[in-house]
Symmetry: C2
Subunit: 228 residues, 2 copies
DNA sequence: CAACAAATTTCGGTATACCAAATTTGAACG
DNA sequence: CGTTCAAATTTGGTATACCGAAATTTGTTG
């Protein structure tokens, strides 16, 4: 837990807080306050905030406090559009390039998911889900592609999470993942395209629904202030 | 030229130096030296280096001097693969979403290119070329997509430049661009796909050739040191 | 009581000081 | 002459000091 740089660790901490909703969209992230709270100086915290900015999780405003991004519906829709394209591309490349070991690892994730099916809570289940998609991106053997995939994944993490826990269709997810793994094993590009399509096509409208709701709620609750 | 933040300006300066080859791949970017040279302190320079790191132009090594990235053939090939996918996706979306004004702007760029044909130097011609592709990405009306497009464009800028000046086929470039604009006007997705395909398909092998050559040269010339 | 203006506080941006790790240098020894 | 180890220096990482611009508060006035 300590081989990462300090700014990266701070970014991890802040990212968790944002994705879990502890730092809510629109909240300001004051450098001094948060630095004190985490027991570090402003310099590494500042750098951590920049990291999160490149991920789109916070928004930098010149000469003003950075705020937790409050993505518009349009922005989320755009991000989803890109993420879908990246995942489709990754899957097709993985179909040609994934090693058997990588496919085994993905299959193992599906097994874990099927096992823990109704014992595990939403957050953990969702993290397993995301690890499957990250693994699929990595199996394309293109680090640049995997990079931007993880960027958009984290950018949409919270929306996707809110969407996922809403409709608890775990068995369908496991089923889809199994089909994807099967297509990988068969090296069948067409099959993986349809399997992933079935898995992801509902994603866009679902996520956009969730975000629309959240924005409506947010406009009801007015301005917020950073706690202690 | 002053509405940008200071780190962004510094990053611009360093980026130019890298892309123009003044800062050669493998050179170390020492914080104190470059800060002094540019008349700023380490803090904003440091931040500028981080910006370039996210663009892939410099490589950060924990507790060591950052160096100008010396991309491997594999990395360049991966980047090209991603860039091609992004440009194809952008073009198809632009076909459906570009406004007439945006298409006009692209057409104007093609005209400028045709005009300056044999009066302008390689660098300027290339910058016009790149502005066309950036404009095409923007016409897709998806800022997230345009963002990563510009990232990969700058990451490959130098390779693409070296490749472009090598084979001076300006008329073919103008011709291709014209076809792309025509396809946009006709809102013909298939046509734009083939036009862009013709334009870009030669890109991958060309760039990879150039990089392979440069790496061979670099291994001949041994280690380098930062000047003054 | 409302509204505007001035003073004060807050906060991000930049510069600088300090520290620890890493590199380099050079001297001593084989 | 080469190798090795330690002292000195270089360098990135972090903390802090300082500054100017925002934002907030307060006091005054209509």
């Amino acid at each position: 837990m300590a081989d990462q740089t300090l700014p990266a660790q701070i970014a991890d901490q802040l990212r968790r807080d944002i994705l879990r909703g502890i730092l809510r969209p629109g909240m300001s992230i004051k450098e001094r306050d948060n630095a004190d709270k985490l027991g570090v100086s402003r310099t590494p915290l500042r750098e951590a905030v920049r990291i999160l900015a490149t991920e789109g999780l916070v928004e930098l405003r010149p000469a003003r406090s950075p705020i937790v991004s409050i993505p518009s519906v349009k922005q989320v829709a755009d991000d989803v559009e890109v993420l879908l394209a990246i995942e489709k591309m990754s899957a097709e490349l993985a179909c040609a390039r994934a090693t058997e070991a990588e496919i085994d690892a993905l299959a193992a994730i599906v097994d874990v998911m099927a096992d823990k099916f109704d014992t595990v809570d939403a957050v953990e289940m969702f993290e397993i889900d995301m690890s499957f998609h990250a693994g699929l991106a990595r199996a394309a053997h293109n680090p640049s592609l995997a990079d931007i995939h993880s960027t958009f994944l984290s950018r949409l993490w919270r929306s996707r999470f809110l969407s996922a826990i809403q409709r608890r269709n775990r068995e369908r997810v496991v089923d889809h993942h199994s089909q994807i793994v099967a297509a990988l094993r068969a090296r069948d590009t067409d099959a993986i395209r349809t399997a992933l399509g079935a898995h992801l096509d509902r994603l866009a409208p679902d996520i956009i629904n969730v975000i629309t709701q959240e924005i409506e709620q947010a406009s009801a609750t007015a301005d917020r202030k950073d706690d202690l």
